[in-house]
Symmetry: C2
């Protein structure tokens, strides 16, 4: 039983990796920079995306693939910002996989996109194992979740290139130390870039969006 499970899991991951590689080739062929956003439920992925879209829309052509276990709530919120949004309902699945992303982006005109956000299912465990073909992964951690999360969910923080701390405006009301949270994250992944943000006050969003724009521009030049 145990062996059978491991074998199936390996087959699933290797099939996923093949599709992810295809997705990566398609996206980079069109010079699309893509970001896989992972976090706990309620860390503020959708609100950060809404703010980010408003700031970047004047200068970049954006699109979103938004995953959820159930409902199209996030997709509906993002669509109001006037960019193409593809919703994926996993129907119980605890992560997006490369096939879902591949099918989703088939409906997008990639030649008209500079920056694609892939909002993964709210989950700090499963999404860490699945390559979606993204340029890089960003992990969000809200200050309300506790500063030891990187130690408890190391795979997500190892996979990510960047950590976005969210809801910084709430820190004064909490027993939470950004310093400790960042130190813990860097102990898991010393290469991690870090942004401190509040989607509510706008703190840190300029640096975050400037970095995204720079990455997208570098990706376009390289394609």
């Amino acid at each position: 039983m145990g062996v059978e499970r491991v074998e199936v899991r390996e087959k699933v991951l290797s099939a996923n990796d093949e599709i992810a590689a295809e997705v990566r080739t398609r996206l980079s062929g069109h010079g699309v920079f893509s970001v896989n956003l992972i976090s706990s439920p309620g860390s503020g992925k959708t609100l950060l995306l809404e703010r980010t879209i408003d700031l970047l829309k004047p200068s970049l052509r954006l699109a979103v693939v938004a995953g959820d276990v159930q409902t199209r709530n996030d997709a509906a919120r993002l669509e109001r910002h006037g960019i193409p949004v593809q919703a994926i309902e996993t129907g119980g699945g605890c992560h997006l996989n490369a096939r879902q992303v591949s099918e989703s982006i088939a409906s997008l005109d990639l030649a008209q996109i500079d920056l694609l956000f892939i909002e993964n299912v709210g989950n700090l465990v499963c999404p860490a194992s699945f390559d979606l073909g993204e340029s890089l992964t960003v992990v969000l951690l809200s200050v309300t979740e506790g500063d030891d999360k990187a130690l408890k969910y190391p795979a997500a923080f190892r996979r990510a290139a960047v950590l976005v701390l969210t809801k910084l405006d709430l820190e004064p009301h909490l027993d939470f130390s950004s310093r400790v949270a960042i130190d813990n994250a860097l102990s898991i992944n010393p290469e991690l870039g870090v942004f401190l943000t509040s989607s509510y006050t706008g703190e840190g969003l300029e640096a975050w969006t400037a970095w995204l724009a720079e990455q997208a521009s570098a990706c376009k030049r390289g394609s």
Copy 2:
């Protein structure tokens, strides 16, 4: 491939259910009332448990099985409250299963326990599919996570008998409505009992612990 995965998943679930049934028989044979706590990472499971233990310890014999993907941080925090704590590290697994709980409680003297808490891995998706042999499941939702979480993660809210809203002290600083969150949860599961709590101020903890004590007492009478 798809069929093979479904078959393996069904075998895993049915093997789990058999062990869960054994766990349930063992626990109820000793009159132990057991609670499976599920929530997102950072919803406040461990702090709620710490407060709950302090309030109930004078009148009930308590124990905890604490699950985490990595680290024994939660178990270490709980041990300081002077009750038996068993830690389970899932090493990447996104939920506890019945076998892990079965092996954990083998080290506990069940005849000396009235109320057993099982703190599941922080995850709103996977734990909803795995019976651990508990008397009932409690889902936590912190006010910082957004009021539509029950709609997005319906399986967890369907499995639960009780919803504990946590971090109520932060609600004044948030665009969050407890009313909307509860209405959404009840639309998924009309039988759900609801407690509004703040582990920080102590709000609602008296009602929550009184309810637990009552359930434990009823369980003892029935054994």
